[in-house]
Amino acid sequence: MRLSTRKLLDRSFSGLGVFAILLMVGALLVLLAPIAARGSRAFVFRATVEHRQFMLEESGRGDHDAIDAEIRAAAEVRRKAYDMIARFEEELEAAGRSERRELRRSLREVKDHLAGLLGPAPGNARPVLLRDQYGQTRWDRALVGLGDFLYVTEYDYSDPSGMGRPLLVPRVDGFRGTSLEPLFAYVEQNLERMLRPRLTFYWRFLFDEGRDAHFFGGIWPAVLGTLYLTIGTMLIAAPVGIASAVYLAEFAGEGWLISLIRTCIGTLAGVPSIVFGLFGLAFFINTLGVSDSKSVLAGCLTLAVLVLPTVIRASEEAILAVPKTYKEASLSLGAGQGSTVLRVILPAALPGILTSVIISMGRAAGETAPIIFTAAVSLGRPLSLRQTLSQPTPALPWNIYNLCTEHEAVDQIRHVQYGMVLTLVLLVLLLNLAAILLRARLARRLAG
């Protein structure tokens, strides 16, 4: 082979490596970009007057007079639309029978769509579901609703070789020549004045309870549940894991027991997470009976078993990374092995151990499969500390799954799903960032 070809091969080999790394960076960006971009819209969005009204009526937030004034101003603009409908209904009475039935059905659709946009029409009975009591709280959803209000999607089935092609037919076509005709243009032009969207930073998304199956409100029960699960897991796993690591690093020799322990730790690390879920249900709930239903406690115990190997391995590494001289100096000063470990080695290894604990916390926060059978529910209140011993809780990972597959109106609450994913990913990444920074500090300290 020629030298130039060899050089080319060499370069392309390096290129492949760089490409692989760039691909990873790219994968991270591709993964995080939609989550960050759309997740942030759960917090920052153009909220309509309906949002403010909801906040005022349901949780007493906001300036009462200002919002009242806004509602009145919006109602003023809306009244014209309702007047048009009322006039049309009168007109309908005079129409022929068959024509009337046809028009009435179309009119009902129009009124349904309008109610979806603006909430129930004045004078109508208050619907029982919260989602029907208010109009669109978000301007982006309102625009989607406006599209549905203005156009009917019909399908053109004329081509027998393929599926029908969607056609957007203006709804107004069905009402040409009637007194309802101007309604559509009126709503289209004045929707902004009817809903008065304003850019809002809804930071309470994190701290509000979800209302009416997440159509309104925030995700606090799930956030709190995840915090409980994460912290509880570490309270159980950290002492056990660190003690194990100390033993393995400082006291254990070589023997069948130690190698058995090490093999078991490796095996535990490789057990699929769904198996942990089965085990947690069978062992902690059905056999030990730590609680009479799913509970945070059972979830914590299950997750603790899951993260144990991670804690042990990383802590052991941290302990082994403490320079031998520390230990020798302590022993030569006459300190016993026990106090050497407690007073010298553990403090020196603390940042490393902390790093491992933080990374494991991230793992515990994000695991779904083990808590399906042991701790997670799709609806529940935020728990008090005492209730965690006996009651299950919503948790971010499970609720993400639940909301994006099981919810009855998946498309209408995309922002909640993305908001949850963003919160979870941020939580985990912040934990990891903390670990990375801690480790960098540690490296500096050991170096200098």
Binding site: P127, V128, L129, D132, D148, T153, Y155, Y157, D159, P160, S161, G162, M163, G164, R165, P166, R211, D212, A213, L224, L227, Y228, I231, I285, N286, D292, S293, K294, P347, L350, P351, L354, I372, A376, V377, S378, L379, G380, R381, P382, L383, S384, L385, R386, Q387, S390, Q391, P392, T393, P394, N402, T405, E406, H407, E408, A409, V410, D411, R445
Partner: protein, 287 residues
């Protein structure tokens, strides 16, 4: 200095965790004549929306109560009730003989509360020109005898079959009323919930699926079955061939006056019926 910052960090972390826990609006578990303040509901994903709406409605009236709802499938609901890990089991099918037997052996007496009626619309993408099928045709599609929409009057496109997971009462209803013990072809996609079926159908032009009445909206098209379209009227009159009641099971009939009793009889109140209707199911008293 460095050690002290580290200690501060740890202290802060512990303190904030504690503060979080304390700050949470705690509901003190108190036993009273009205029974436990904790009601655990588990089971069907079809009944899930009703149970969630009931729970929120009830908790809105009684802030001291915590009702948790999981949607994990009818079978799981029955299992949880039998094991005593839930108070109410949502089920979209009736309990099976084996389950009854196991329950009685464990000292649990399942009592059924019919909360609503549900049809099982067969749904396709709205761009699909097919408007109606017969039960026989649906069965043939799912057994794999019919694989192309052309064979039932549609375009020449391969059918993508979507089914519920076998752990759902919806699946069992479908298997009983449509499949009549014939086996669903192995290339059928299985998804975990009604919402997921609708999502798959709505994003796949060639798809066919089935879901509870409350999950079907404008984004999909419900087919006529044997010439009858699924709606409130046809479901309650029994003309629509794939209809079923939805249940909540409790261990024995709950003592009168308890919170549990109030919760499982909510569907009999006007508010409860309105909720059921607004979600899209058919109230039992709707005759």
């Amino acid at each position: 200095m460095k050690r002290s910052t580290l200690r501060t960090v740890i202290l802060l972390a512990v303190a904030s965790a504690f503060a979080l826990a304390v700050q949470t609006r705690g509901v003190h578990a108190q036993e009273s004549t009205a029974g436990s303040t904790k009601i655990v509901v588990d089971g069907s994903t079809t009944v899930g929306p009703i149970a969630k709406a009931f729970a929120e409605h009830y908790m809105g009236l009684h802030p001291e109560v915590n009702i948790t709802v999981s949607e994990s499938g009818s079978g799981n609901g029955a299992k949880s009730l039998i094991n005593g890990v839930c108070d109410v089991a949502d089920m979209s099918r009736f309990m099976k003989e084996r389950e009854f037997k196991a329950a009685v052996e464990k000292g649990v007496m399942p009592v059924a509360h019919v909360v609503a009626m549900d049809g099982l619309p067969i749904i396709v993408h709205p761009s699909n020109p097919v408007k109606a099928l017969t039960v026989q045709q649906v069965r043939d599609i799912y057994t794999g005898k019919i694989t192309n929409w052309r064979e039932v009057g549609g375009p020449n496109v391969r059918i993508v079959k979507i089914s519920r997971d076998t752990n759902s009462g919806t699946y069992e209803t479908f298997a009983k009323l449509i499949m009549k013990k014939e086996k669903i072809a192995p290339d059928t996609e299985h998804v975990g919930s009604n919402g997921a079926v609708r999502q798959r159908v709505q994003s796949t032009p060639a798809a066919i699926g089935y879901a509870g009445l409350g999950f079907v909206d404008r984004t999909v098209k419900a087919l006529g079955i044997n010439g009858v379209y699924p709606d409130r009227e046809s479901v309650r009159s029994g003309r629509y061939p794939i209809a079923r009641p939805l249940f909540m099971f409790t261990d024995g009939y709950p003592a009168l006056g308890t919170r549990l009793h109030a919760f499982v009889t909510l569907h009999l109140s006007p508010k409860g019926q309105e909720i059921i209707e607004d979600i899209g199911f058919v109230p039992v008293t709707d005759y």
